[in-house]
């Protein structure tokens, strides 16, 4: 099976797609089990599985830790990883630039400002999500507008526009924090990319939209292949390019905004995962999209395990872990393109 997946007989076949996704699902499940097993109180995987069949017995404390703490955190990690990877992949296809990514394009910072403002005005969880989405969408429009010149988009201009817009919005973040109260200082820490805010409410607010948006984007996977070869090419091959792009930018910003509102800025995931997937599975978005979703979820669960265990009992923000892995990959990609 591994040979079938990795030896690239182009083009993609349904068989190879199925084999790839099966393997990635198994990988995700394995990592997820490890994710809820590891922590200050270690609960062996064998014991957890055994308790499901009645062969083993979990104590009340262990049960509480699993269900109320580790499971929500696991699900949140998977949503964040999957969502950011899919958003990154879609931005890369639309902009025809493998370096495009929610964090580098400043979209995450826009979401941060939206989130902070919502917290400052105590807008509640739904209001925070909406405000974060608005911030993300605003930055997306801004960066796109700045980078476009006479219908042409230059890679360097786009990246610099994103980084500078991000820097500006980060300054706004610091300003809000300086003006506002102590509560926001804690919020700031949380916005460095942290999964400790995992609550069932957060998951229920963000989860359905992230999943639904990903499914809608998946429907357009074939269109992204055509758009990745050029707008005129895609148009002449029958794609409603303008409509697909608008919908995709909107959903990409929605995913980013929602993810930021519950986890803060977790950078580079949308860069690392699509890049690895492209290396392993080729450039066809019909496999890249679901593969990035699954591998993104897997990656963030792993990153979360690291962030909880490396300096235990202290916790590193998960955004620091992803940046430590992602920044070198970005530089490598920059040298190559």
């Amino acid at each position: 099976m591994l040979r079938e997946i990795l030896v690239r007989h182009s083009p993609l076949t349904p068989r190879r797609l199925a084999a790839t996704l099966t393997l990635l699902t198994i990988l995700l499940m394995a990592v997820a089990l490890a994710g809820i097993s590891v922590g200050s109180v270690s609960i062996p995987v064998g014991k957890m599985l055994g308790s499901l069949t009645g062969a083993e017995h979990l104590s009340e404390a262990e049960r509480t830790i699993l269900v109320s703490i580790r499971l929500p955190r696991l699900i949140l990690a998977m949503l964040v990883g999957a969502g950011l990877s899919v958003a990154g992949l879609v931005f890369q296809a639309l902009l025809r630039n493998p370096l495009a990514e929610p964090y580098i394009l400043g979209i995450s910072s826009g979401g941060t400002v939206g989130t902070l403002l919502a917290i400052a005005f105590s807008l509640g969880i739904v209001g925070t999500s909406l405000s974060s989405f608005a911030g993300s969408a605003l930055v997306m429009l801004l960066v796109y507008g700045i980078a476009q010149r006479r219908g042409q988009m230059d890679t360097n201009t786009l990246l610099l526009a994103g980084v500078m817009t991000g820097a500006f919005f980060n300054a706004v973040v610091l300003l809000i924090i300086a003006v506002m109260n102590q509560e926001l200082r804690n919020a700031f820490l949380w916005l460095m990319g942290n999964l400790s805010g995992a609550t069932p409410e957060a998951i229920m607010t963000v989860g359905p939209f992230v999943l639904l948006s990903s499914v809608v984007l998946l429907v357009h996977a074939k269109n992204y292949n055509l758009i990745a070869t050029g707008d005129e090419s895609a148009l002449q091959l029958g794609v409603n390019v303008r409509g697909v792009k608008r919908l995709s930018y909107l959903l990409g910003s929605l995913i980013t905004g929602l993810v930021v509102s519950v986890s803060g800025v977790v950078g580079f995931v949308g860069l690392i995962i699509p890049h690895i997937c492209r290396k392993l599975f080729g450039p066809d978005h019909r496999v890249l999209l679901p593969a990035s979703f699954l591998l993104g979820a897997t990656f963030l669960v792993l990153a979360d395990i690291l962030s909880r265990t490396v300096l235990a009992p202290a916790e590193i923000p998960v955004g620091a872990v992803t940046a430590a892995v992602g920044a070198p990959i970005f530089i490598y990609l920059l040298r190559r393109t």
Binding site: L12, K222, A228, L235, Q236, P283
Partner: protein, 267 residues
Amino acid sequence: MAGGLFSLMHCLTIDAVSFSYIRTIPILREVSCSVQRGEFLSLVGPNGSGKTTLLRLLDRIFLPDIGRILLGDKPIVKFSRAELARRIAFVPQDGGIQFPFTVFEIVLMGRSPHTRGMAFENAHDRAIASEMMEKTDISHLANQPITKLSGGERQRALIARALAQQPEVLLLDEPNAHLDVSHLMDIFRLIKRLNTESGLTVVSVSHDLNLAASYSDRVAMLKSGSLAALGTPEEVLTEQCIRDVFQAEVLVDRHPSHHGPRITLKT
């Protein structure tokens, strides 16, 4: 009625079309022209005369400001995008593809207007893609990433993709730009053969007047957005006409093999 016969013969009708990218700078002014079914029409003219723009309008990549374009007797705005893609194929100038799709994947994309939604290409689609790679002499490159190919090889892959659409009309934007002389002849012979044997209608933008002279049934010459001349190569590619439109002194005589006009620069 005569109208029925008229629409049967006319494949593409350009009806008093005007277009500008920026309001104050008109690119095309009231161009009217019709392309017959199975005809090979070349669009020639100096840089900035509006040739490529006209070609884009024919595939609804842009919409005319004034006037309309018909495919058969139906305005192209009435077609769905996919329907149009099954009938008209446009070969853009090489835009530099960033992602390493293989040549086979690129050519197979030509089948997408014929496959539904998320469906995968079937054996029939693959067979057509293979056939077109064979015809454009890129079969040996099938598994190569398009990013690693030379300009001419990429050009041939894009032509193969357009042919895989199995269109009635093929629009070519300077297909000769990156091709070496041997592949240039191969590609034009192939297109001419599809044109004469299968009735493929071809509209080709070309900077090479001799190429236009040897393959076209008719030549349309544009000058700053207006149609300056339209007719057979003999009628259009004259010393007088080329002097007026291109401001170039040329010598036109008979080509020794195809007996059409042969254009030589005066030095």
